[in-house]
Symmetry: C2
């Protein structure tokens, strides 16, 4: 906390006061002059304090009167319930994922999308395009044979050195030789699973989990056993223990300990320690997908699960395309005691990665600009998540639930009255708004009344309008009830008249709708 | 033939005369003046004619006397025998490949290599490094969000357009939508095999074949059924028919129709047509690995096997890193009726490829510079193959056999008296010369007395010395006989005295040794 700037520390102090009730809605924040005197700070720091609280939604400025406390709407929305952990998961609920994903993709492609909330990715402007382009151009100049000599199978040396060095921050003491560069985290997961399990084997995963993992398992002929997972603390260790006792054929466990996709949960350190020990004790390989840890709202990312791994039982996988640049396909794997087998599988699957992007990324990541970028990205995403959550709280019908995760790119939204997300998907798609229905995040039908909403877009009028419209769609569907499932919603094409309205008029309409 | 320059057409005419015996060894070629008058050509064309024949080894210049016919030594070496095609292959000969490859790699890493004949790759200087660097730099400038926006899953549009357009030259009428960009040809082969076969299934392959393919099959839990393959005409269709009749469980056939690795064979068009029909008739998917066709010594590459495919039964795979730049990992797949399944598997395995190298390569390939590069590469490789073959003919003991392939990067060498290539590998490695032993090219032990020799290095003193030393090693091992297998050869470390000799002395010694 001490590494936060002073104005942020003071802002946290006042937010605490709001939480505890010392400052109530409508109360006036101390004036700038009082703040300067009270905390012995400069006018500029006092101003930063107030503006930070304003942009986070905790106070609002009233002309010439000062800043007044408000409660962000997102705080009014109910959190989700914890899943039951005392019942062993039922593999018979398996309905498969490929058909669902194919159907999703095919339907999404029918119309050119206007607004895509279905991905989990930041907008291009959140990433350091220019600095990376310069790094690539520089590497092309410095290493003239970059394109005509094959890069080493393990990966570019300097890139692996940067990765190994940064691993120290999350408690992993590894050397560059322990790391193998892959085509994104998804290839790392493929290799990890192929190294430790065979077709027909059962693999325990979080429930819900991202459909990419379910696809990998299905494409490898492996079966996913879905373990109840808390929106707050991630995989339920009790439920996993029960599953291990109930089924003796679990060949691997895959977890996303930090900012789980789609839940956004972060496992407490004590849970990670227990999980590593549990898997070690039962001889079950533990695969850690650590793609998001740099997006946790904290000056340094949380400790990797692998940092509790003494015997090489944890396979650590991570990647750059969510945190450094979505146009890169750079992942890496630290495979513990399966290193040699993973290296062989990588060679047989895709050989070495290209050298250029590795060396360019490595060059950039070795400078202070990388951490500055990550801080900036976290700040932007935090604002965007909070704005999105506020909009959902304002626009979606009562009974909607969300958990505001401590970082990351998305929100997981529970729809009221178990409304089918497939119906929401269809109706929204007709207006060229794409959402990710909860059906994609499980091989069962347990999450059919959930949506995953991307918060990667800077919050602006288009996003606001889209979320408002989503709220209306959900409300309309609820009013119709389940019986009307087959009837399509009236499609409203973008009205030329509306598009021709001056931006100012649209903004005002948007604001008033929002306040309603 | 008409598209060849005039001097090459005339050179071919005189080479024919040498083959038929009209011109005998020692005969004098017509003088430059006579050539000009005889063919109505300029002095410059006559000179090009003579110099081409000289560099190809067909004539030698004698001071002030003109050019005299010689027979390149490579013509004196015996070709290999055709494999028996009337015996069904025996799957029981399976001994596996991973252990052999791992052992090969581990032993190769023991010493820093001096000269690597074991790869199948051109030297960096044979590829257009500068033009490609410029293309990449230009794409980074033209598309500022290249690194921050994910490329399409299928691949960069312009790159696929260039690939589709060039496919017309080999008889494939496909659209960019039929193509999926992959991480090298090896990923394309993985996807093709995973699309059409399951673990436990049997896949027919050429014998010998490149160990990469055997590794892919073994890593996917599939079984390779090795089909006899001619050093001249490739896969034996008769042997494949017999195998299909004998075993009813063949789920796919994989072939390299052009410049097969390691044989260098090229399938005649009639064979390709029959093979496509045979597989279609039996409902067996046919996977074509077309990595090398641009390296065939001809103005345009041979027709793809896929051009005989009416029903989408042929999956075509190819890549750039042998023909455009070894530092790129760009392959592509045209999967016929398995397109949707391959696209799903690609998504689950590695997602999209990075955009930068695709777009840069596409930019370069859309210009005339690409075909100019390919012509230059083919010319260099032809010279290097012939020089290597001449050296083998001169330096290796009698009984050595080679087939000079009509293009490509390597020679497949049969050792005399069934000498074990593993013993040659060990003895050469002690002198830091690496060769690829024939054991790597089959799951059986049928090719233990073969070596694959890379011709990708421009022929110079180091290569000449290395080949001469290889010949001596082979001779020594033969003289010792099989009984002495375990005894290591005396290792000769590079003598400081020899290294200190002036280059001229070394050149002379090398030449005299070569003439011996």
């Amino acid at each position: 906390m001490d590494s936060l700037p002073l104005y942020r520390q003071l802002a946290a102090h006042y937010v605490d006061a709001i939480h505890t009730g010392s400052l109530k809605q409508g109360d006036k924040l101390p004036s700038l002059r009082s703040l300067m005197r009270l905390h012995g700070i400069s006018l500029s720091t006092a101003l930063q304090l107030c503006r930070t609280m304003e942009s986070d939604g905790w106070v609002e400025a009233r002309d010439r009167s000062g800043y007044f406390v408000r409660r962000p709407r997102r705080l009014a929305i109910a959190p989700m319930e914890e899943p039951p952990a005392g019942v062993p998961p039922d593999p018979a609920q398996y309905v498969g994922i490929h058909a669902k994903v194919s159907d999703f993709v095919a339907r999404r492609r029918q119309l050119p999308e206007k607004l895509n909330f279905s991905i989990a990715r930041g907008a291009p402007e959140l990433y350091p395009a220019e600095a990376l382009r310069n790094a690539m151009t520089r590497m092309l100049r410095q290493q003239p044979d970059m394109l005509t000599v094959a890069a080493p199978l393990k990966g570019h040396r300097q890139f692996r050195e940067v990765l190994a060095q940064r691993s120290l921050r999350v408690g992993m003491a590894i050397s560059p030789e322990d790391i193998l560069v892959t085509n994104g985290c998804i290839e790392a997961l493929n290799l990890a699973l192929r190294a430790v399990a065979q077709p027909g084997d059962t693999v325990a995963v979080e429930s819900p989990t991202f459909y990419g993992l379910l696809q990998v398992l299905e494409s490898l002929g492996m079966r996913a056993l879905e373990i109840p997972t808390s929106p707050q603390t991630g995989l339920s260790i009790e439920a996993l223990e029960l599953a291990i006792r109930t089924y003796d054929n679990i060949k691997a466990v895959v977890v996303v300990p930090h900012l789980q996709n789609p839940l956004g949960s972060v496992m407490p350190d004590a849970h990670k320690a227990r999980l590593a020990q549990l898997c070690e004790r039962h001889g079950i390989p533990l695969i850690e997908d650590d793609t998001y840890s740099e997006l946790v709202d904290a000056p340094t990312p949380p400790r990797a699960l692998k940092s509790w791994d003494a015997g090489g039982n944890v396979i650590h996988c991570a990647s750059l395309h969510k945190i450094l640049a979505p146009g890169l396909r750079l992942g890496w794997i630290t495979a513990g005691r399966w290193h040699a087998r993973v290296e062989m599988l990588k060679y047989a699957q895709t050989r070495n990665n290209e050298g250029l992007s590795q060396s360019g990324a490595g060059l950039f990541m070795a400078t202070g600009a990388y951490d500055r970028h990550l801080r900036h990205l976290r700040t932007c995403l935090k604002t965007q998540r909070e704005q999105t959550a506020d909009a959902i709280a304002g626009y979606f019908p009562a009974g909607t639930r969300i958990n505001l995760p401590p970082g990351g790119l998305q929100l997981w939204v529970e729809l009221p009255e178990r409304l089918s997300s497939s119906r929401v998907f269809d109706a929204a798609l007709a207006e060229r708004i794409v959402v990710a229905p909860g059906t994609l995040f499980s091989n069962s039908s347990r999450f059919d009344h959930y949506l995953r909403i991307n918060c990667g877009w800077p919050y602006g009028e288009a996003v606001d309008t889209g979320l408002r419209r989503l709220g209306q769609i959900i409300e309309t569907l609820m009013n119709r009830g389940a019986g009307a499932a087959a009837a399509p919603l009236p499609v409203r094409p973008a009205s030329p008249a509306a598009a021709a309205r001056p931006p100012e008029a649209r903004r005002i309409q948007s604001s008033s709708a929002r306040a309603a």
